[in-house]
């Protein structure tokens, strides 16, 4: 395919400072994603999926993390080298992240509306006192409209009502949908979905995944989808990366990877999977 290369991770290596010394956690990971593509990353727990994703947005605190090598090119720019200022501008507007646990990823003491509005208004600003592009009043109105639109798209009933609610008033599935809407509020180019909704029910989870996929395709957003569920990976992504102990051990077209795994590790994962036939 000749689509434009959106993000390219080359030989990324990350260590963590711990009480037992520095532990290399991400080892020479390389990945890429093109415009409009959906890829999945699978691997057992602790294999480094989340750390890789979070490092794209520079959300890991340094220390304890140390970048020991490699680069993360977004539209040709190395995200590891840009200023704090620039990365903040990118966060939420160009690259967004969906968090895995709907119970903890929402601030418990602000309404959904306030939280969404803040993102819409202040995303990328240096401070709340910085000059806004339009008057705050206008922006508030826009934020509201956009929030309602997104919540509706996520098949949430009564989006207006939800804006006035606090996280604890919503069910897990609703919260997860809200989190997705938050990540999309500024229509990012790249969406990093870190196992969204895995703590939820199977039925809820599968419907969320479907809605997410539909929305991403609709808005022409590229997505890296992390999961440890091979089935989900296969259903969602065109290409798949398999990670183990901080390394990418296999990559390729999803069908190919799952139906004809080349690596021992991938095979063992497949074998461990309970099958219904």
């Amino acid at each position: 395919m000749n689509k434009e290369r959106l993000l390219e991770i080359n030989n990324l290596s990350i260590s963590f400072k711990t009480d037992d010394g520095d532990i290399p956690t991400i080892k020479n990971v390389s990945m890429h994603i093109n415009e409009g593509e959906i890829i999945t990353v699978v691997g057992e727990s602790g294999s480094g999926k989340s750390v890789t994703m979070r490092s794209i947005m520079r959300l890991i605190a340094t220390p304890p993390a140390i970048y020991t090598g490699g680069e993360i090119l977004y539209k040709g720019k190395d995200l590891l080298k840009v200023s704090e200022e620039e990365i903040r501008k990118l966060r939420g507007s160009e690259i967004s992240m969906i968090f895995q646990d709907p119970m903890t990823a929402l601030n418990p003491v602000f309404t959904i509306g306030e939280q969404m509005e803040n993102i819409y208004i202040y995303q990328g600003q240096k401070s709340t006192r910085s000059k806004l592009p339009r008057s705050k009043k206008v922006m508030k109105k826009e934020a509201r409209a956009r929030s309602i639109e997104l919540l509706a798209k996520m098949s949430l009933p009564n989006p207006e009502g939800i804006l006035g609610m606090y996280p604890f008033e919503l069910s897990g599935g609703m919260k997860q949908r809200v989190i997705i809407a938050m990540a999309l509020i500024k229509t990012p180019r790249l969406l990093l979905a870190d196992e969204p909704g895995t703590s939820l029910d199977v039925t809820v989870q599968s419907s969320i995944n479907e809605e997410l996929k539909r929305l991403v395709l609709e808005e022409k957003i590229s997505m890296i989808f992390i999961t440890h569920n091979l089935g989900v990976a296969k259903q969602l992504g065109e290409r798949t990366y398999v990670m183990k102990l901080g390394e990418v051990v296999e990559e390729g077209e999803s069908d190919e990877v799952f139906l004809n795994p080349r690596e021992e590790y991938t095979k063992s994962l497949m074998n461990a999977l309970p099958r219904i036939v």
Binding site: E44, S45, G172, L200, D201, V202, T203, V204, Q205, S206, H228, N229, L230, G231, V232, K234, Q235, F258, L259, S268, L269, M270, N271, A272, L273, P274, R275, I276, V277
Partner: protein, 283 residues
């Protein structure tokens, strides 16, 4: 001896929310609503259902952590709601054990593995210190853990290993009935399959009965003999595993089946045969 180790006869469990106050609109949650079933000895009896459907509540009632609101539960032919005093209860708890979902939170972080496995023996005053130590060693071997793990603390073990400790503790008293409340949902697929294998092995060895609570239908297919499906406190469907997968009667059951994420084309094909709107499965 009774064929059935557990019998649920029209069991109900209601929770009252917002108690106190000034008496108006007391909200009642029907966690388990008029459920009846029987569990044969030596089988793996699966309970399936979405979150909040009452699965754990049933487990708690079997364990006598919760009392029954209405109806009767017979275990080994004995009405367990009649057991009131402490000694009876203690004796009952030698018979029935539970393995919890989250292996980390179900082990006391400040005790060694040996202490954890030994605790039921101490509580029930079984053997002297030496005998108990022997028994602990034996149990550790049964669950395939290295013996030198005895003096470790839970946090030094992996999830799968912790779950094995939980299982060792559950079988320490030679209980015949073990309730498994989502015992593998916290584990990785690869670890999960090992734990399931272990459970199968032990079941054969000691002729145990499992009540297996889960929301993973694929796992049920591989592990359970008999299945009941719960929805909002009601039992909506039951049958042998084969029956259920091949001929799901309820719309809800079919929806659950459809939601299984699968890899193989054969599996996909299997799921594709299930129609959500009518009862037939096209061949």
């Amino acid at each position: 001896m009774n064929d059935y180790i557990i019998e649920f006869n029209n069991v109900k469990k209601y929770f009252q929310l917002s108690h106190g106050g000034l008496g108006k609109n007391k909200k009642i949650v029907k966690a388990v609503d008029d459920v009846s079933f029987k569990v044969k000895r030596g089988v793996t009896f699966a309970v399936i259902g979405e979150s909040g459907s009452g699965k754990s509540t049933m487990a708690k009632m079997i364990m006598k952590f919760e009392d029954v609101t209405e109806g009767k539960i017979l275990v080994d032919g004995e009405d367990i709601s009649a057991m009131k005093d402490k000694d009876n209860l203690k004796a009952y708890r030698r018979k029935v054990q539970i393995v919890h979902q989250d292996p980390t939170s179900s082990l006391n972080p400040r005790k060694t593995i040996k202490e954890i496995i030994e605790e039921p023996l101490i509580v029930h005053k079984i053997g002297d210190a030496k005998e108990r130590l022997e028994r602990v060693k034996e149990l550790i071997q049964v669950v395939d853990l290295p013996l030198n793990y005895m003096d470790r603390y839970p946090h030094m073990l992996s999830g799968g290993q912790k779950q094995r400790v939980g299982i060792a503790r559950a079988i320490a008293l030679n209980s015949k009935l073990i309730v498994l409340d989502e015992p593998t949902s916290a584990l990785d697929v690869s670890v999960q399959s090992k734990v399931i294998d272990l459970l199968k092995k032990i079941q054969k060895e000691f002729n145990l009965t499992y009540v297996f609570i889960t929301h993973d239908l694929a796992l049920v297919k591989n592990f359970a003999d008999y299945v009941i499906i719960m929805q909002r406190g009601n039992l909506v469907e039951e049958g042998t595993t084969e029956e259920l997968f091949n001929n799901p009667k309820q719309q809800y059951t079919r929806k659950l089946l459809k939601a299984i994420p699968v890899i193989g084309d054969d599996e996909q094909a299997f799921l594709d045969r299930i129609q959500l709107d009518d009862h037939t499965i096209s061949m």
